[in-house]
Symmetry: C2
Subunit: 892 residues, 2 copies
């Protein structure tokens, strides 16, 4: 016989905290509290297996469930000394759902079940309080009708409000027993008229109606969507908890409340919570009455004149405090509790790991480790890496009023306010004049870099999470909202329209890059404060982790920032970013426009000293840490001017006819630049370009070595390789230049040549390519694009819909698609290392800063992840968590 | 001891035809002829292994080679009764290279080796003919100086010409012994002055100089390039054949010639060849004297008054004819022979499978099978499938003069002449007026379809082998040259410039789509003539093959064409092509421009009957054969007008402001349309589109069934699937529509829903996707694009260079990249069939018509290939060859 029902109460339980899978979170913790001999009203849990059986059997529960539940109900009755459905001493129960992970969208709770027109009288007699009994009854009818019979909650509220208005009452406490009897009658009449049948008077009908409603709610569309979004398997199912009622609404010696063992906002070690006297659970959260503070300390701090639990019910308070300590010690985590005091006796109704802010999580983890409650590993494990963003960037003041005008994608975290600028030039000029600026563009391009640098925030109407704007903003640590499709931006007219409101240049807006929100006017922000706890936790993470963390950086500022955040090297220096700087873009364009190799070489000769200087700076800042430099990657047309005006200007500077420039631009134009003449294909057709870059790298390495004595070992990285032959050819060029520089300088140059694995073919052929490549860096941005056949610049149009419709669980450009793209990464690692044992491998796509993706990187055995400077702390933490096993915080 | 040298001659040989790998083609066949007791001058072969050793050892041959060769040389001397380097009876030898596959670019032949100032006198005395001896000597000096000492051939010719002019001679035969002695002296002086050392008089120096030159020539740049282009491994190496000389230049009883056992141009069964009396081998091909016909029949046919071999040397002729019959029977293939008659005795110097035209190959294969020489399988195996193109399309008259102005890619076979038209409209109008037109465009777009249909040929300056122009042209069977980068096309000015020459509208040009050549003026063409042999061979192929062959077709014309070529169904009906037709493009644009679903549905309602009519036609023509219909694939912006003028016209027709149209077009614009909002992504965001198409398909199937009684089982194919969830959703739509149509009609609809596997992720996830898909069709065009990260529209800029530099062996859009993309195809097949045993799978990319790719398809177990109608015979043949094993013709 399958055991479908697990009992708890009376100082013991058949279940325990370890049986979360079978009993759900709530049931497992109720059992655990019983086992800890805490005062828990007796009850039982119908298992998640029953839920599975329910669905396997077309919404029918196995007969055994009913039998076992009936016996368990008798057991409860025996413990509390009442009987389910009997007039004289009626047993009342609560029915609650309880899945493995807490899950909104499902039926939650029915209280006071077992009341009917008969038992309510018995309850009134026994409690000696008719008001209490009918208050309970009306609550039951309303709750049951709402969650089981699916009637609108407001219909009941309307009756109550009308009644109070008629009678001139203000508070629910103004109503006496008679009033509630009348209301109860009206409620029952409403049910009858709405549903065409009376409110169920049979207590077993009530019970099984509620139980079936819980199981049925597992598959409501809202619940299904929630599961999809949070990767909760459909077959987990939910459990149902049936528990004897205790009453916080039995007069002034009764109360109900919620408590946290530590402050969930700040993390301070202090009992924290709220309660109400003479109330039932839902009153505390419903906002009809303002709950009181639990402790005297909190009361004083809030300058609340009303009594605290500590003052009003000192005995129950002491008990509660002791239980809090016991539970925290037992669960080794901050607990979120529900309790009820019935006629002076404290009962515990729930405990679970409490949700908390990032700040609190950090403090609690570090404090608990200091208290010896948990070890450092566990402390590291407790922090959701992504939550660090809240600690590293300005955030909106949660209390400040907001005038939301549109939403977009949360492209780069942080909040910022400023005047709208529609061009990069304007943004730069205004910033120079001392204004705060938000750069607003349809989309950004490399031409806008100077304006993006100047702006406090960036807002685009087009582009996804990995669009140019998003990637660059994240790299700079600048807040950015991208892909705000509802905005109409007219850069010529210098207007931005949102929901009919027109904003012009100089109007102030605020963006929240963590939430993807755009607000009119200035919204107060809070600057991040990094506590000592942060440094402590990060140092623990560093002790634990095996994977190295490097930065994607090319400017001296980024490199310095990266080091200050703890980067252990540069994993990706994108040399193209250097080409856009004002002092060299002309030479770059000269090179591109030259009709022959001789002309290109002349232009490259001009670029060489500048490029060398770039690398000297980087090598100097990174003082001996590894630096991976990627050869030029984007198609050359990206460097050409974008607008007519710009074209004319460039033509003038270069002394050519605009028509000539135009013709060359047309020649370079591509249908699909992402799949075009870029990456190592540039070096194959223009070897002189790779020669110049290699020379700049090696000469810089020598120069820094001479100046600082530091040994620089550059890692030269060839992008977009699809075949071994490409890499062979380009490595040949690099080796030749190294040999030349070596001859000229008389000093040996240490370096290695590796490649990006960013095309499916490269992953498939990794074994061959590894014969030539000294290292691999997985470029998962491009790899995701090609594996999915999706351009991240164009994805905004449909990818959101994909996530909304549940076709994709997450944007694969944000979190690595382990199932698909991950296969290719794994293949690349395995085949590469089979050919070259111990081969160094890393990741340098945007995924290198995404915790879930980092976990995958750890699993497949990468040596390092590389990400934008601002994500380095996140990556350090996530990398540490690869070693500490499953995250526990996400199921809290 | 390694055996480096294999002897032959004197009626036996150490080698045989089966030892081609070790002895090279020539050496193996010489040995084989000896074993057949044919008259072959004795000699020996230094193996290809010696070549490998030579390169492994820095260009030094192992000492054993010399020892063994010396012994073999003595053996020759003993057989012919002379001695190498001895004055009185000097042994002379020829030295020839002989790789496994015949390979231009390598050192070919040195004749008369062993002559020096001393032995020449002995030869003169022994032959009683000083003229013959010095003629041989001067030939030797010139040949040796050219191929071994790398001197310019023309320097020697100049001396001879000057001499003849001085003396007033016309023919070489005018020169007597004295003359040749003088010439020989001048030749030696030339060598001395050019090289600074005398012509080698030591015969062993001569011999090893020649042998080393053969081995050295294996790695000349020309030879390396040739190998790369023909996929011949570098480590095969070449063999060297050293053979006793026989002399065709020993007076009027001597002769030399070449012969084919059948006519290599027509395939007719008749001995065919040329010869010269009193000449050495190179004279026949040098063109100094015009060779005579071998047979009387040929002589008469050519109306040649000069004697034939049959008439002049009847005994040798009879012997030769007998040998031809023997060799053909032995090798079971048409042979290409070299022979020499020395003083009335016939000697065989070479035999090999003869090269032949496609027409001849076909006739020979069918004839030989009829003669019982080979079986049907072998006959099928003998025809290079790609060569059928020559039989199916008009070709240029090989004798017509040509004025070549530029070259491009051989995008679609066939030759055509016509007047230049620069727009599709012009092309259509001119054709309607009775002119032949060549449509000349920078590139074509779907807007040009009507002009492409009208034109006799298509020429573009941009785009690769799988560009729009190329794909559409091949589909239509229209000749096309694409990517002719040297052309400057100015469509506005209506001029085309090539090499400084300007062509204007109406000028006549000719294109050869098989060769990729563009010529000024009209070049005569020959229409294809399909002999009965063609039908015979194709029927044999059909008997043998297992893989089905379907067509990529959507128009009734294409479908009919496909059936006439033997298609067994439609593997790919691209519904987008139907959307461009004049009667519906307006409704298509209306749909695209509608701001909401209601508007789109209205437009789709207009399209439904037209689309249904399309399918009724197709189903009717295909009468019960399977038809795979792909839902709309390209991004919607492809259907919008391309030019300003067009936009204005469309705006007017649709009654909207051009600005509105422009704005929507801008909104739909994509950076990388290939990776954009297309394929099944359209159906995910606009389900109503898929609904309309599904309805049209099912209603058409029912209609055709009612009208014809034929059961139509449409295969509905969903494009660009990356995840199972996409397919689930769209299959849901299709199934729902099927159910609706079923309800409306009261008749059950048989159909299946499958998907393209054209993204790496789809191949990786094939197991999952196969849970939903009833069939897979590998879309290897897109799969190649995404696996390589190369856009075929943009590839022309670098892909040619890749092939030229040997980075890629072949254009992966023409021949499937088995090594890389092939892995994904194989994965797709294996994982798909693991989930759904026996799952139907095919290929519908351009590769479906490429023989090498078809071989791969057969190997991985596809059920069918689908290709453009004109390639169906090729595919049928290639599919048959999958069953007959290795092709033999390619190594002939």
């Amino acid at each position: 016989m399958t055991k479908w029902v697990y009992r708890f109460g009376g100082g013991s339980a058949e279940g325990s905290a370890g049986m979360r899978e079978l009993l759900g979170g709530k049931g497992a913790n109720l059992a655990e509290m019983c086992n800890l001999a805490l005062p828990v009203p007796p009850g039982f849990t119908i298992t998640t297996a029953a839920c599975t059986a329910y669905y396997a059997n077309d919404g029918q529960l196995p007969g055994e469930v009913e039998t076992q539940a009936k016996e368990a109900l008798d057991h409860i009755a025996a413990l509390v000394g009442g009987k389910f459905g009997e007039r004289d001493n009626p047993l009342l129960v609560s029915v609650r759902s309880g899945a493995r992970a807490s899950m909104p969208g499902m039926m939650d709770t029915v209280l006071n079940l077992g009341l009917n027109d008969v038992t309510v009288e018995g309850l009134a007699e026994r409690a000696g309080d008719a008001r209490f009994a009918y208050d309970s009854y009306r609550r039951f009818i309303q709750m049951y009708a709402n969650v089981v019979l699916e009637m609108d909650h407001d219909l009941f509220e309307a009756i109550l409000e009308e009644y109070k208005e008629e009678k001139g009452y203000h508070l629910d406490t103004d109503l006496d027993a008679k009033d509630w009897i009348g209301i109860t009658g009206q409620f029952k009449a409403l049910v009858g008229s709405e549903l065409g049948k009376p409110f169920p008077q049979d207590v077993n009908t009530q019970l099984w109606g509620a139980v079936n409603a819980v199981f049925g709610s597992w598959n409501t569309p809202r619940a299904i969507t929630y599961r999809r979004l949070h990767s909760i398997p459909d077959d987990w199912g939910t459990a149902v908890n049936v528990q004897a009622m205790v009453f916080g609404n039995m007069g002034d010696t009764s109360a109900t409340g919620v408590a946290f063992t530590r402050n969930p906002a700040t993390g301070e070690k202090q009992l924290y919570g709220e309660f109400l006297i003479n109330a039932q659970g839902e009153d505390v959260v419903a906002g009809i009455r303002t709950p009181h503070a639990i402790t005297e300390e909190a009361r004083k701090k809030a300058n609340d004149k009303r009594y605290s639990l500590e003052a009003a019910m000192p005995q129950s308070f002491r008990e509660l405090r002791a239980i809090c300590d016991k539970l925290e010690a037992h669960y080794q985590d901050m607990q979120d509790l529900e309790f009820t005091v019935q006629d002076g006796k404290l009962w515990m109704l729930q405990t679970r790991n409490g949700k908390r802010t990032a700040e609190a999580a950090l403090k609690i983890a570090v404090d608990m480790a200091a208290e010896g409650l948990i070890d450092k590993k566990e402390a590291v494990n407790r922090i959701e890496p992504a939550s660090l963003d809240q600690l590293l960037h300005p955030t909106l003041d949660p209390d400040a009023p907001r005038d939301l005008i549109a939403t977009g994608l949360p492209a780069s975290p942080g909040a910022a306010s400023g005047e709208i600028s529609f061009t990069a030039d304007d943004a730069e000029a205004k910033t120079a004049a001392g204004h705060d600026v938000i750069l607003v563009r349809m989309e950004t391009s490399p031409e806008d870099i100077h304006g993006m640098h100047a702006a406090r925030g960036i807002l685009t109407a087009r582009g996804g999470m990995t669009s140019h704007a998003a990637v660059v903003a994240r790299g700079m640590g600048t807040p950015c909202v991208s892909g705000a499709g509802a905005l109409r931006i007219d850069a010529d007219a210098k207007t931005m329209t949102a929901g009919g409101r027109v904003f012009t240049e100089g109007d102030i807006i605020t963006i929240d890059g963590a939430a993807g929100e755009i607000m009119a006017g200035k919204v107060a922000t809070r600057d991040p404060e990094l506590s000592g706890d942060f440094a402590t936790l990060m140092s623990w993470a560093d002790e634990i982790r095996v994977m190295k963390v490097r930065a994607n950086a090319e400017t001296p500022e980024d490199a310095r920032m990266a080091r200050s955040f703890g980067a252990e090297g540069i994993g990706l220096c994108r040399t193209e970013h250097m080409f856009f700087e004002a002092d060299r873009i002309v030479a770059v364009r000269e090179m591109i426009l030259s009709p022959d190799e001789a002309g290109r070489r002349k232009a490259l000769d001009k670029l060489l000293p500048m490029q060398r200087r770039d690398f000297v700076q980087l090598f100097t800042i990174m003082s001996g840490l590894p630096v991976t430099i990627r050869l030029l990657d984007p198609p050359l047309h990206e460097f050409l001017p974008q607008t007519k005006k710009e074209t004319a200007r460039v033509a003038k500077v270069m002394g050519v006819e605009p028509a000539v420039l135009k013709a060359r631009m047309l020649e370079l134009e591509e249908y699909n630049p992402m799949l075009g003449h870029r990456g190592c294909r540039l070096a194959v057709t223009y070897p002189e370009l790779a020669e110049m870059q290699a020379r700049a790298i090696f000469e810089a390495a020598l120069e820094v070595h001479e100046n600082s004595g530091e040994t620089v070992t550059p890692e030269v990285m060839v992008p977009l390789v699809a075949t071994k032959a490409e890499l062979d050819m380009i490595k040949g060029i690099i080796d030749k230049v190294a040999e030349e520089v070596h001859q000229e300088a008389g000093t040996q140059i240490e370096y290695s040549v590796g490649t990006m694995i960013e095309l499916p073919r490269a992953a498939l052929m990794a074994g061959k390519i590894a014969e030539t490549a000294a290292f691999f860096s997985f470029g998962t941005n491009d790899l995701t694009q090609t594996t999915f056949g999706v351009s991240r610049d164009d994805a905004a149009r449909f990818l959101n819909e994909y996530v909304q419709k549940g076709i994709l669980e997450a944007d694969p450009f944000v979190t690595l698609d382990v199932e698909g793209v991950g296969q290719l990464v794994q293949m690349g690692v395995e085949r590469g290392r089979a050919a070259r044992p111990g081969m160094k491998m890393g990741i340098c796509g945007e995924h290198g800063g995404d915790p879930a993706s980092i976990t995958f990187c750890g699993k497949v055995g990468l040596d390092y992840v590389s990400c934008s400077p601002f994500r380095i702390p996140i990556a350090r933490l996530a990398a540490a968590q690869c070693e500490t096993g499953e995250n526990t915080h996400s199921t809290a």
